[in-house]
């Protein structure tokens, strides 16, 4: 063994590896921070700490995508809310990093963990080009896996607290996005002249240009929050014009372009709870959108895109997508391996030899509403699932 930490063998569970059908009566071995192996014939190594998991279910840690977990404590208390600069401050701030203010001690983190979430793609709020999302593990220290995992762009929502969008936000948003990308393209081809002040003035700062340059280089994925079918078509066009990789977030009407999105290999982050004609950009929302997109070959990630206070509902959201026709294994993948692949966190999101040991032990079907997460490991370390809510319950149960 490479480390002094004892290997752990979880024995006898039904294991959803995050990719494909489950293994029944399987063993998962964790050695230090990695998964050493998984299989139905795997034997626990000599000296490993053995945990009987028969009758239980193991999944990779769930990933909350496009979440604001860790960016606030109390949604409606501005003093506790980070990363939601008002739109008026500066709508383009690509260089802003959610990672700089992600707070592992936020009230939202333990509740998310209790929902089986081990990792999150944390997005900054506010503005037009809001800044960079961070991929974090929900640990108390060393949480950052990638400080710049994606760039958030809002077309529909200016982000942050709800309210009417600025007048004409959609057309202005597309205008600004194109203008920004055009400037970044110019910068990309003329970095030297720009740095020696021999280029025309550009619309955004040098720091923002550096970030957008990575998007043009296809290193940085662009998350576009957009819902209306016609707007989604425009996003596809812009992605093609500038050669950027985009992920649609929200996508209430994305199902109408299922074939196009599959052809363009554009993944979609969907919230299965968003099934209402909530506004004029979402009039054809439907509960089976995930099933339709998946069937067409689109890579689907499921998310709870509401307040981060509801992040723990992710598994319930996925259960509802399954009830609406999404195959079960695809639902599990959409919460685990798909986001890891899309955002290039290669060793996350699945249970296979060599993968990082983020996993959850459940007392039943993780997508059901009557089960719960019993134990959790992040990078091989068991982490407590206790919440402040549990402590309150204990205190008052005795009275």
């Amino acid at each position: 063994m490479k480390s002094l930490v004892l290997a752990i063998a979880l024995v006898g569970a039904t294991v959803y590896t995050g990719e494909g059908p489950p293994l029944h009566g399987a063993t998962v071995v964790i050695d230090a921070n990695r998964i050493q192996g998984v299989g139905t014939k795997l034997r626990a190594p000599e000296g490993a700490k053995r945990i009987d998991a028969s009758g239980m279910v193991i999944t990779p840690g769930l990933v909350a995508v496009a979440t604001r977990v860790g960016t606030l404590d109390i949604e409606l208390e501005p003093t506790s809310v980070e990363a939601t600069l008002p739109f008026s401050a500066d709508p383009v701030r690509a260089a802003l990093r959610a990672a700089d203010t992600y707070n592992p001690a936020s009230f939202t983190v333990p509740i998310a963990r209790a929902g089986g979430i081990t990792s999150a793609l944390v997005v900054p709020g506010g503005g037009q080009i809001s800044g960079q999302a961070a991929w974090v593990d929900l640990t108390d220290k060393d949480w950052l896996r990638r400080g710049s995992a994606a760039l958030r762009v809002a077309i529909d929502a200016p982000g942050g607290p709800p309210g009417p969008p600025p007048a004409g936000v959609r057309s202005a948003a597309f205008l600004r996005l194109r203008e920004t990308l055009a400037d970044a393209r110019l910068y990309r081809a003329n970095r030297g002249p720009f740095l020696s002040n021999k280029l025309r003035e550009l619309s955004i700062s040098a720091a923002d240009l550096e970030v957008l340059d990575r998007a043009l280089a296809r290193e940085l994925i662009v998350l576009v929050e957009v819902n209306r079918a016609s707007d989604i078509r425009t996003v596809v066009e812009i992605a093609s014009d500038y050669g950027i990789r985009v992920v649609i977030v929200g996508g209430a009407e994305a199902w109408q372009h299922a074939a196009l999105l599959a052809r363009e290999q554009i993944p979609v982050v969907l919230d299965p709870f968003d099934d209402l004609p909530a506004n004029f950009s979402a009039l054809s929302s439907r509960p089976d959108a995930a099933a339709i997109l998946r069937k067409a070959g689109v890579r689907v990630m499921l998310a709870d895109l509401g307040s981060p206070h509801f992040a723990h509902r992710l598994r319930q959201a996925a259960g509802n997508a399954v009830a609406a026709g999404l195959p079960y294994d695809a639902a599990i993948a959409s919460l685990t391996s798909v986001p890891a692949q899309v955002f290039g966190i290669a060793d996350a999101g699945s249970i296979r030899a060599g993968a990082v040991a983020n996993l959850v032990l459940w007392n039943g079907d993780p997508l059901e509403v009557t089960t719960w997460a019993e134990r959790m490991w992040i990078r091989g370390q068991e982490i407590s699932l206790e919440t402040r809510q549990d402590l309150l319950t204990e205190r008052y149960k005795q009275r």
Partner: protein, 451 residues
């Protein structure tokens, strides 16, 4: 869906914070131009054909779960529940073997129709934020029966909703209990003989809407209490004079003081609920229930003693400071202490899955070591909200004589995978998952897009 996506969940109680949502209003019981008595919007009971639903697992919300049982419906009412019931000639027999039957779900706190979707300036119709006392306004007068969310709620097994004004105001206005039958006005949807209700609110919302946003009173909780005390005192002393116009607002509060109108009180914190109980006791009355009541578990013995109900969520927490001590075992702790507890949605999203909310609250109780039976959990979304609304004599359980408001589920209703397959109100099938047909809402005609 800017607001939908980013802040879904912040409807009613919480969204208020921003948009200034509403409150409740109540109306005078028999004002001079009192509307005629409510009629059932479903065709008169006699017109509903007799039915026999055969062979389901039946949860009556009034006793143990019955396996392979039948439910007989006559004249729009439940006539019998039991095994191997005879099918008289002329009775339509519906084979529901392998399915589950429960009473129709009752949501005791909804803003459907008054905060309809799509969210527009026109559909923000549930909060009269022009003054903290609006006892004379009625949710039913704002209610838009074309709200597309209504059909989704029905598809989630909801048969009855209590629509309230929002919580901007100390006294927000009168609520109304409605059945989700097709109708062109709220009047046609009223639950017959449902008692009037009054929405009141404490805490952050009135402080924010008036104190913080307008520099008006109330700015503080102490002002909220003092202001309400004075209004109730005025109402207690109020005597309509013959020959003079009725003062609708004061008259309505007078009826609250006399206990003729059920007070549905939005209140989160334990200390505020206790203050409220004391205030009402000064006038010899009590609220029917505290709504949201996220800290009710801390005072569950007091609520049980006072006979005051608690209307709670399964797992909302943290959105506002007054939600900071919310716990998912709230419902289980309250139930164990003998409080009449109900789950509510306060949301056009959660209302579609109140069966799942009950399942989550039940599981949270078990996880905390509190034994919660499935039958008890079912009562949180059926019999108990019926009591809280004062309509338990006619709906909320599957007992002979009750309205045949029921749901046929594809499987265990406490499973995330269960669908409401058929929904009946007064014995009439008002939803059939197998034959969805055109959207019920006129607004949605032609909008859902081709698959």
């Amino acid at each position: 869906m800017s607001r939908g996506v980013t802040f879904r969940g912040l409807t009613g109680a919480v969204l208020l914070a921003w948009a200034a949502f509403g409150c409740a209003v109540f109306a005078s019981q028999d004002p001079p131009q009192a509307p005629p008595p409510a009629k059932s919007a479903v065709a008169p009971a006699a017109a509903a054909a007799p039915l026999l639903l055969r062979g389901a697992t039946v949860m009556t919300a009034a006793g143990p779960t019955l396996e392979r049982a039948d439910v007989r419906v006559e004249n729009g009412r439940i006539s019998r529940v039991g095994a191997n019931l005879a099918a008289e000639p002329g009775v339509a027999v519906i084979d529901v073997a392998g399915r589950w039957i429960t009473p129709g779900i009752i949501d005791p706190h909804s803003h459907l129709g008054v905060y309809a979707v799509p969210a527009t300036n026109s559909t923000a119709d549930g909060n009269e934020m022009t003054g903290p006392f609006k006892p004379d306004i009625r949710a039913e007068d704002s209610f838009w029966p074309q709200d597309p969310a209504i059909e989704r709620a029905l598809a989630g097994g909801v048969t009855t909703i209590h629509v309230l004004p929002g919580s901007a105001n100390l006294v927000g206005g009168q609520g109304v209990s409605l059945r989700l039958v097709p109708a062109l006005s709220a009047r046609e949807m009223r639950v017959p003989d449902a008692p009037p209700t009054m929405k009141m609110a404490c805490g952050e919302n009135p402080m924010r809407i008036y104190g913080a946003a307008k520099g008006a009173e109330p700015q503080t909780r102490m002002a909220e209490v003092a202001m309400l005390r004075q209004k109730l005192e005025n109402a207690r002393a109020y005597k309509p004079e013959s020959g003079k116009a009725l003062e609708f607002s004061t008259d309505a509060l007078a009826r609250v003081v006399r206990g003729e109108i059920l007070v549905q009180n939005h209140c989160y914190r334990a200390d505020e609920m206790l203050v409220r109980l004391d205030l009402f006791a000064e006038f010899g009355t009590a609220p029917r229930a505290f709504h949201h009541a996220v800290e009710a578990y801390k005072i569950r013995d007091r609520l049980a003693r006072a006979g005051v109900g608690a209307v709670v969520w399964a797992d909302w927490a943290g959105l506002k400071m007054e939600l900071v001590d919310a716990v998912p075992a709230n419902a289980a702790l309250l139930d164990q202490a003998g409080v009449r507890v109900a789950l509510h949605s306060d949301s056009p999203y959660d209302i579609q899955r109140l069966n799942q909310e009950a399942a989550k609250a039940m599981a949270a109780g078990r996880k905390a070591g509190i034994p919660v039976g499935r039958e008890a959990a079912l009562r949180w979304i059926t019999a108990n909200p019926a009591w809280i609304l004062g309509i338990d004599a006619r709906t909320g359980t599957l007992e002979p004589g009750k309205d045949a408001d029921l749901v046929v589920w594809s499987g265990d209703p406490f499973s995330v995978y269960a669908h409401a397959e058929q929904v009946y109100i007064e014995g009439r099938r008002v939803y059939d998952r197998a034959h969805p047909g055109a959207p019920r809402s006129d607004f949605e005609l032609g909008l859902r897009g081709a698959k």
